[in-house]
Amino acid sequence: MLACYVCATAVGWILHMREQVLLSVKGRPPVRGTKQYGQRFSAAFCRLLTVRTVLVAAIASHLLVGIAAAQTLPRTQDGRPNLQGIWMAVNRAAYDLEDHAARHDMPAGLSVVDEGAIPYQSWAAEQRQVNFDNRATADPLGNCFLPGVPRVMALEHPFHILQTDGHVAITFEWQQVHRLVYIDTEPPRYAGVESWMGNSRGRWDGDVLVVEVTDQNDQTWLDAAGNFHSNAMHVTERYSLRDADTIDYEATIDDPEVFTTPWTLRLVLKRQTHLDRILEYQCQAEKSEANGDFERDVRTWYPAPIPAENAPFDADAGAQLSVPATPPDVPRLADGSPDISGYFMADAGGANYGLEAREREALMPPSRGQVVDPIDGTLPYQDWARAERIDRELPHRGYDDPTAHCFLAGVPRSHYVPAPFFVVQGEDHIVVLHERMSWRHIFLDDRDFLSDRIRLWQGHSVGRWDGDTLVVESRNFNGKAWLNELGDVVTHAQTVVETFTPVAQNQVIYRATVSDPIAYTRPWTIEMPFNRSDDELLEVACLEDNSDLQHLKDVRDEYRAGQGQGERS
């Protein structure tokens, strides 16, 4: 390409020289071969030589720098541009994709749309104005609903990319949203099933990751200014790594129901070099707590103290369970560690309805019991915590279960809620995507735990391979989660040590040992198999369709009215 450019430039230069000689002469052109012609030719030649040399040098150097940049871009082992890390958009597209002046709820910003304005059909332009006028209450994001694509990429919250040969996992700080991009030319297994975040299929076009997003519903907006789309929208995203810390992102929106022509928006995504992990912003949980709809439990939430009357916590009481054997022929990564990536579903035996064995009771399904230590299968509760667990079975406490509010399930419950999860296994960290919209990052780089003040629903997890077993220790919990619908208790003081041991081609034995000196007298361990299959994740948009919470609240409120009770302490 460079050679063609040089040839074309040389030919153009010669032709242009003659033209310039003639144009540089005011009045009658000099006769060719005369002294005057020679002087003017020399002057024009020198002038053009200078200008052209500078131009050619600049263009050539730009091309060479570009080629050098392409050669020096960080790349994965398979040679693809390495998009991994923590990123965030650096513009005001989250507020309004088009040029906009400042308002009380949005700072001013420049358009990120190629043609400046979005090419709405006339009816849709009117609808956009209605949306804009009502944005304070009508914006789905204001209700903490899933943002859709491309809006989620523009939010002023960081997100994280993990990239393997077969998948790109994008996890977002905002509301624990995730996207799983299958690098695959096959159509999605559940093509045609609409969801808030849609189906994403990716492919590499040279150094550009191209993602086709289909099957999004018509419930999301494109920004906070009421720009919208229909369920016919097809989004084509292109991720181009400009340099180690910059991704040029573009999304082409094709929606013949709403727009007159396809259009493209562009975002600059910058690496968040000051972060080594993203945290959580559980929009709905924070909103509910602020509104008084989700009440603090001073016994379990951070920073609840260990009750003075507690029996001593015997941290050494945990039995030594033997580690299951891993056959040598389980799938493995290039470095020899087991490959535990893919779609998994726990054979949890009803752990979401109790960790101790119990029969079906009323409308509560049974549990086979998952506690393997203590060997009698009984959770070693402190007295207050056992009493609390029994109280949580009462109808008026159903409202208190965080998952009834669609909040996060915590650890280990996220693995047995029950809903499947998808493991994407990177070189130095693992991302777990739970179908019930939440994620976990497991860091394999021997990093420190977070400051005591950072408290998370899903905790902070650091893992290592011990032979063929992945051992994960998690701390920094907030103590808001329940262990199941029955109400098994856990507090912010829990440390969870999980082991993932492959025992067959597509089975992992999972154990979680919970050490919680506030709620228990000693550590205890649960166990269950995780089974892998080739299924794909669907989406659980819990909050967006949660009709149950009001019923549970009615039951709770009616009980309180009858009891003359005030706030639960």
Binding site: Y190, G192, V193, E194, M345, A346, D347, A348, G349, G350, A351, N352, Y353, E361, A362, L363, M364, P365, P366, S367, E393, L394, P395, H396, R397, G398, Y399, D401, T403, A404, C406, Y416, V417, P418, A419, P420, E435, R436, E485, L486, D535, L538, E539, V540, A541, C542, E544, D545, N546, S547, D548, L549, H551, L552, D554, V555, E558
Partner: protein, 134 residues
């Protein structure tokens, strides 16, 4: 053909074992009353393919002749989709006989135990195991 009956008889048929409600994100015992079983016969007005629970809306004529729209909570849409059901499969107007447990707050809301089509086939056949993907 459409009426609401407080039914206790179907419980004795062992259908309670077929409880196929959501098994998902909240306590069913807390929201629905096992002592308030209802049998509803009516026509589907809508099905919402939602998570964590899908909802069947059923127009049911009560004893006074008024049509009441019942909201019947069933399993998560994802569980149904994985079993091969797709939005649109349950057409508006489909006649259903539904055994369900009414919500504790006394509204026209219930948790599906069993739904039978006019030809006798069971809707969403088979109850999920507790850990079936929801």
């Amino acid at each position: 053909m459409t009426r609401t009956v407080r039914a206790t008889t179907w419980m004795s048929l062992g259908l309670i074992l077929g409880t196929s409600s959501g098994l998902a994100h909240h306590s069913f015992s807390a929201e629905f009353d096992i002592n308030a079983p209802v049998r509803l016969e009516g026509r589907v007005s809508e099905m919402r393919w939602a998570n964590p629970h899908a909802w069947i809306y059923l127009d049911v004529e009560d004893e006074a002749g008024n049509v009441v729209n019942w909201a019947i909570e069933t399993r998560a849409a994802n569980g149904l989709i994985r079993r091969g059901w797709r939005p649109g499969d349950l057409a508006v107007g489909t006649v259903l006989i539904v055994d369900a447990y009414q919500a504790r707050n006394g509204t026209s809301t219930a948790s599906l135990a069993n739904a039978t089509l006019a030809d006798g086939r069971t809707l969403f056949e088979g109850s999920p195991e507790p850990d079936e993907p929801q």
